[in-house]
């Protein structure tokens, strides 16, 4: 479903450009939850950002194919409409715009791109209510401004409500578990399962911790270090990392 081949990317910084991804290759098949783990500074967030087309990065080599299409040719909003969702590590506050208006316009903009009819106000509210309930989020929160005044945990939960409403084929979740307490972690993990666990969908789950993986059981686990995938294995790899640390596992790789 997603095929990344020998991807090289640099980030624009104050001191010029800095290479972050240095020949990253990875394949995620439909029906798969694929966890990415790795030490700080390895390039995990860069990978998520580059996949979704965030400005400030330059692709210097390699390719990304998503559902048979050249992903890197598409603008960020086109990638979203093609079924790609990025769960932000730091969700952005948008004062003056309500979640309801934001998500309804986003969903209808995606539907328009795909040649589908827009949802009416009533249809959208019903959908939003269902997905909010799934993440145990009060509907009143959805009427408030996007992420404004939300706690760290509420922002992450709201990201998952957004994912539920937009119903992507592929989700890249960048440290969705950071800032969550144990109960919220379970709610979010179960949300991911119920929204994304399907034969025609897939998830790239970037995380530091086993705790989320206890709920969202990954099919595959890859270790990202210094801009490359250095090892891929089954769920047991994540357990080994948790026990022995990156250095020990990377020394064996």
């Amino acid at each position: 479903m997603l095929r990344i081949d020998n991807l090289h990317a640099v980030v624009d910084g104050p001191g010029g450009t800095k290479p972050i991804l240095k020949g990253l290759s990875l394949e995620v098949a439909a029906g798969e939850v694929h966890a990415i783990m790795g030490p700080n500074g390895a390039g995990k967030s860069t990978l998520a950002n580059v996949l979704c087309g965030k400005p400030g990065y330059e692709i210097t080599g390699g390719s990304v194919t998503f559902r048979g299409e050249d992903l890197l040719e598409l603008d960020p909003h086109e990638r979203a409409a093609s079924g790609l969702f990025l769960g932000f590590q730091y969700p952005v506050e948008i004062p003056g715009v309500s979640n309801v208006q934001f998500l309804r316009e986003a969903l209808n903009s995606q539907r328009k791109y795909r040649g589908e009819e827009p949802l009416s106000g009533g249809e959208f509210l019903k959908l939003a209510k269902d997905k909010a309930a799934l993440l145990k989020m009060d509907m009143d929160m959805l009427k408030r401004q996007v992420n404004v005044g939300f706690s760290g945990g509420e922002k992450k939960r709201a990201e998952m409500v957004q994912m539920g409403i937009l119903d992507p084929a592929f989700a890249v979740l960048d440290e969705t578990d950071s800032g969550l307490d144990i109960d919220a972690l379970r709610v979010v993990g179960e949300g991911i399962n119920s929204i994304m666990r399907a034969p025609e969908k897939a998830v790239l789950l970037i995380t530091h911790y086993q705790r989320l993986l206890d709920v969202v059981k990954p099919d595959r686990v890859s270790v990202l270090a210094d801009g490359r995938i250095i090892q891929t294995g089954g769920p047991d790899l994540a357990l080994r990392l948790e026990e022995e640390g990156y250095d020990a596992v990377m020394a064996d790789a």
Binding site: G53, D75, V92, G96, F102, L103, E105
Partner: protein, 252 residues
């Protein structure tokens, strides 16, 4: 303010950022034409205007508010040529003046609000909020003068200006002027000019909003404060739509 005997120049403080050539095309008679409105004690007035077209335009209002009167003025200034709205308000005891204004547009045109608010008696309040969104080499100005006379104690006056420039080359000018002779007053003013929040733009794109829709939504949010005190929903929609329609002309 007395009638002008000659056309204004940029040396006149209230015309400092004006398009003087366009003002000249309006002529002295037009410039000296004021609409006078007087509100008696306790009376209220709400006025909502969409101003600006393809030729220079000038709207001058002189409001005199009696004790406890309330005047609300909301304006979308979307001229494609020089468009100026000038208001002089004199507030009686405990009166209130509410002003919400939007200047929006590209091209080369100057759109401006010029207000003079005289707190002539105690306990009057005034609140003015202006939002300016411009591109190309368009300009938006807010010149707001507040005068508080010696015995106008417990005056509470506020002015807030924010400019949003969608392209390099556009400009926004805020000139607050306070002239306070009473000692127990609150006068607040603030002015900032910035650009669209890039992180919000990417967040919207990552959710599937195309660049035009994202920009429209962010501009709508930015303008919101100017009309937040306008309770008439139909008028609120009319003024906001007029502003956002002008944005439709921005090919960014």
């Amino acid at each position: 303010m007395p009638d002008l005997a000659t056309l204004p120049t940029r040396r006149d403080e209230a015309w400092r950022y004006a398009d003087i050539d366009a003002a000249g095309r309006l002529g002295l008679d037009a410039i000296n034409a004021w609409e006078e409105i007087t509100l008696g004690a306790g009376e209220t007035l709400r006025r909502c205007e969409v101003v600006g077209g393809d030729a220079p335009e000038l709207l001058r209002l002189r409001l005199t508010l009696g004790e406890g009167a309330r005047a609300e003025l909301f304006v979308t200034n979307a001229g494609r040529d020089y468009t100026r709205v000038e208001v002089e308000v004199t507030l009686g005891k405990g009166a209130h003046f509410e002003f919400g204004g939007v200047t929006i547009g590209g091209g080369e045109a100057v759109r401006e609000f010029v207000t003079t608010t005289v707190h002539a008696e105690p306990e009057a309040t005034s609140n003015q909020t202006v939002r300016s969104v411009h591109w190309d080499t368009g300009t938006g100005n807010f010149l707001g003068e507040i005068k508080v006379v010696r015995h106008a104690q417990k005056t509470d006056a506020a002015q807030d200006f924010k400019g949003l420039l969608l392209e390099a080359g556009a400009s926004a000018n805020a000139v607050p002027q306070l002239e306070i002779f009473a000692d127990d007053v609150k006068c607040a003013h603030g002015a900032t000019v910035g650009q669209l929040d890039e992180s919000a733009r990417f967040y919207m794109a990552a959710r599937g909003l195309d660049p035009q829709a994202a920009q429209r939504l962010l501009v709508q949010a930015f303008l919101g404060d100017a009309f937040v005190a306008l309770e008439d929903e139909a008028e609120h929609a009319r003024l906001l739509d007029a502003a956002l329609d002008a944005l439709g002309g921005a090919d960014l």
